[in-house]
Symmetry: C2
Subunit: 87 residues, 2 copies
């Protein structure tokens, strides 16, 4: 017999956690990238910020609160970085 609900917890989803420096924090790496982009001919470029992205494979049943806990406690530094989560 087909029991779809049995496998619900085994299905995986991909979650992207994006971590960027807070707007008030200096980002010299981003400033250097902006300068390089201007040299490549895209003179209209404004602010550039460089951060990291973490792609997680998690069970479908993972509660959002757990994902936020991981993002806050492990993947970002809340003093200088903001994170966002997308599924």
């Amino acid at each position: 017999m087909f029991e779809p609900s049995r496998n619900e917890n085994l299905r995986a989803m991909k979650v992207l956690v994006t971590v960027l420096p807070k707007p008030s924090v200096l980002d010299p790496q981003g400033a250097a990238a902006a300068e390089a982009i201007r040299h490549l001919g895209l003179t209209g470029v404004g602010r550039v910020r460089i951060g990291k992205v973490i792609e997680l494979e998690l069970p479908d049943s993972t509660p959002d609160s757990e994902i936020h806990r991981i993002a806050k406690d492990l993947l970002s530094n809340p003093v200088i970085e903001d994170y966002s989560i997308s599924k």
Copy 2:
């Protein structure tokens, strides 16, 4: 007189370039993060990949081809990384 088309080129958009290691490339940083996440109690975590994200402020009129050029030539290493662009 109000001329909205005059300012079209001055309007800025935010573009996110996400750069992740290709699936076939070893990602020791991601493996370490996966291990740390398991230690934090999320035992169901699968593969973790860590990449970078670049947020660009560009004029609205910037053609997609230019954004791809920047992403390919400057922001990523096509040998070991894939990039994606979202606006």
